[in-house]
């Protein structure tokens, strides 16, 4: 399908990321944005913009008819959904198809197929990939028996959930009975379907995922794996590629993923998620969107996955110029507007000042710059800092340097916690598991004052006394005079 203009149904760093790839391919872009959501890079970079509804996502980024209208109004013949929002909504993909807009991603049928985790598991089993014990829950009947069959601890999951929502851990029947209505409600609210199932929970597992890509012609590319075990409340914060799993296991996974892909007519980017415990791995689900952490795969393979997605939608070949061999090691840190000292309370406000790191093999995918506003309506992700080096150790060093260069005023960020995590013994030894961060965070809180209170107070007094002299005329030697001229944003 030919197109010259791509609509972007997203915001923040991913919207900007997509615009850049479109521009590299000489395609025009239309940003479909929510009212007031104009203080961001994507708004300034898009060739055209259409406001598609009120700030609340439900009226804008989740509003299928408004998005389609917006794209049609500007004559965009293709649409990239980014991640989150409607990126894995088959109805949205179908609406695009019905309106002759190329949905940049798999077809609506495949989205719907993999969106249902129970069905995806069946395909995985067909390909010979191990899955965890699970039971579908229809009504209250046999709940006890089903749970005992799966065995505790277990996860209650929304069949159509994603993005770390619609899943809860339970340890016994009482908890299970209490949590089921909650998950159903969350599933209905977020995914518009209340089907749920139980799945065995592994408490010493790593979260490993494999990036796959299938070209328009059906060539299958397996682009290695990523270790995304550093997560809090199912939200990843540090990701790296490649994982440090034993080579034998990696080969087995690759082989099975290839088989999985060859069983269907899927096109474009996809991610197979696994839990790995000991020498065993289990399939969790297949994501049909581009993922937040696609960057680390791009860094080690030297590819542009967003560009590949667009080329695939255009029916063109991908990765022609590349020798697809992974090199070196890449780490990504998600910089979020969350205060780790206040249990990761979202922090909103203006970015009064922000300095992003620069340097060899340092990549910053940011959606916001100085003067932009972090709003409470959307996700707290401000930017992603990605580094590459020949070794994992080198990449860790580089990341620490990059984080130290990053200075943000106006809101609180999770940078200090990221810094701590990078220096943590478990991270260095690659022993982080999916539930490690809660513990590490608790430890950090109790002995985490990086500076003595007295020092801070002394610094502060020094600054304060200089401000209190404000009434006096500025003297040329006053070292604080410059502060006084900073304007309020």
């Amino acid at each position: 399908m030919a197109f010259e203009k791509v609509a972007i149904a997203n915001r923040g760093e991913i919207a900007k990321r997509i615009i850049v790839s479109c521009h590299e391919l000489n395609l025009k872009t239309v940003l479909l944005y929510a009212k007031g959501d104009i203080q961001q890079e994507a708004y300034r970079m898009a060739d055209e913009r259409v406001c598609i509804g009120d700030s609340e996502p439900i009226h804008s980024y989740l509003n299928i008819s408004a998005l389609i209208e917006g794209a049609k109004f500007k004559g965009a013949k293709a649409l990239h959904p980014g991640y989150g929002f409607l990126s894995e909504n088959s109805q949205f993909a179908k609406s695009c198809e019905d309106n002759q807009i190329a949905f940049i991603g798999p077809c609506s049928k495949d989205i719907s197929l993999f969106g249902n985790k129970m069905k995806a598991r069946k395909i995985a089993q067909k390909a010979g990939i191990p899955v965890l014990a699970s039971e579908k829950i229809s009504s209250k009947d046999k709940l006890k028996e089903k749970a005992e069959k799966v065995t505790y601890p277990l996860m209650v999951k929304a069949s159509c959930g994603g993005g770390g929502r619609g899943l809860r851990l339970v340890n016994n029947l009482e908890e299970l009975e209490n949590i089921i209505p909650l998950v159903r409600q969350e599933a209905l609210q977020n995914f518009n379907k209340e089907d749920i199932f139980l799945e065995k929970y592994l408490n010493q597992a790593k979260h490993i995922e494999v990036q796959v890509f299938i070209s328009a012609k059906g060539e299958i590319f397996i682009l290695g794996d990523r270790d995304c075990s550093s997560q809090r409340r199912h939200q990843k914060i540090i990701e790296e590629a490649p994982s440090l799993l034993p080579l034998k296991m990696k080969e087995k996974m690759r082989e099975l993923c290839y088989k999985f892909c060859s069983l269907m007519n899927y096109r474009g980017a996809g991610t197979l998620e696994f839990l790995v415990q000991g020498d065993k791995f289990f399939f969790l689900e297949m994501n049909t969107r581009i993922q937040v952490e696609h960057t680390v795969t791009e860094m080690i393979y030297g590819v542009d996955l967003i560009k590949a997605q667009i080329l695939t939608a255009l029916g063109q070949a991908v990765f022609l110029d590349r020798d697809l061999k992974a090199q070196g090691h890449s780490i990504q840190c998600r910089i979020c507007a969350e205060d780790p000292h206040q249990d990761f309370l979202p922090s909103i406000g203006p970015l009064l000042s922000c300095v992003w790191p620069l340097g060899q093999n340092i990549r910053v995918d940011t959606g916001f710059q100085q003067g932009d506003q972090i709003s409470s309506f959307y996700d707290s992700l401000i930017s992603k800092i990605v580094v590459w080096d020949t070794t994992r150790k080198g990449a860790m060093q580089k990341m620490k340097q990059a984080l130290n260069q990053t200075i943000i005023f106006g809101i609180f960020t999770n940078i200090s916690f990221l810094n701590f995590l990078l220096s943590h013994e478990d991270f260095i030894k690659n022993q982080i598991q999916i539930n490690s961060l809660e513990k590490i965070h608790k430890n950090w809180q109790t002995n985490s004052l990086p500076l003595q209170k007295e020092l801070l107070e002394s610094v502060f007094k020094e600054l304060q006394s200089s401000f209190n002299r404000k009434g006096l005329k500025k003297r040329s030697f006053n070292p604080w005079s410059d502060f006084l001229t900073n304007k309020e944003e």
Binding site: G84, G163, R165, L182, R233, Q235, A337, E338, H341, Q342, D343, F344, L345, P346, S347, I348, L352, S353, V355, S376, F377, Y378, D379, S380, L403, N404, T406, I407, I408, F409, G410, F412, T413, I415, S416, L418, N419, P450, L451, Q452, K453, L455, L456, S458, V459, F460, E462, L463, Q464, F467, N468, W480, D482, F483, L484, N486, E488, E489
Partner: protein, 125 residues
């Protein structure tokens, strides 16, 4: 943004400072502090006071996800009172000690704005 070097007990520290009318921001190795300007008094919002908060306010705009308590109910330390969802995150308000819920100012599903009163709670002596 300004740069400040400070010697403290034989060690040298480098800070970045940013001043606004509302207060003062300080940055040191990924850590940020903010002192709110209150007259000539500055106050760090990072240093939480020892006193238990009796009036819980929405620390950020969002939606009341779930309320677990009722008016006049007794609560234990650490008990979750309500959850607020914003920015894809669910934030729980917990009791800081044994207490009684004196008043409830919000409903489930309600959108609340910044600093809106949510719960009034009376801690035991």
């Amino acid at each position: 943004m300004q740069f400040l070097e400070k010697k403290w007990k034989g060690q040298e520290f480098r800070f970045f400072v940013y001043k606004t009318k509302k207060g003062l921001w300080l940055h040191y190795k990924g850590e940020t502090w903010f002192w709110k300007n209150q007259g000539t008094q500055f106050h760090s919002i990072k240093v939480s006071s020892k006193k238990k908060k009796e009036l819980l306010k929405a620390q950020l705009p969002g939606r009341i996800q779930k309320i677990f308590i009722q008016k006049l109910q007794r609560v234990k330390k650490g008990q979750t009172l309500l959850t607020l969802s914003a920015m894809k995150i669910e934030y729980s308000f917990k009791a800081e000690g044994e207490a009684v819920v004196e008043d409830l100012f919000c409903k489930e599903g309600e959108s609340v704005s910044l600093d809106q009163n949510l719960i009034k709670i009376k801690y035991d002596e």
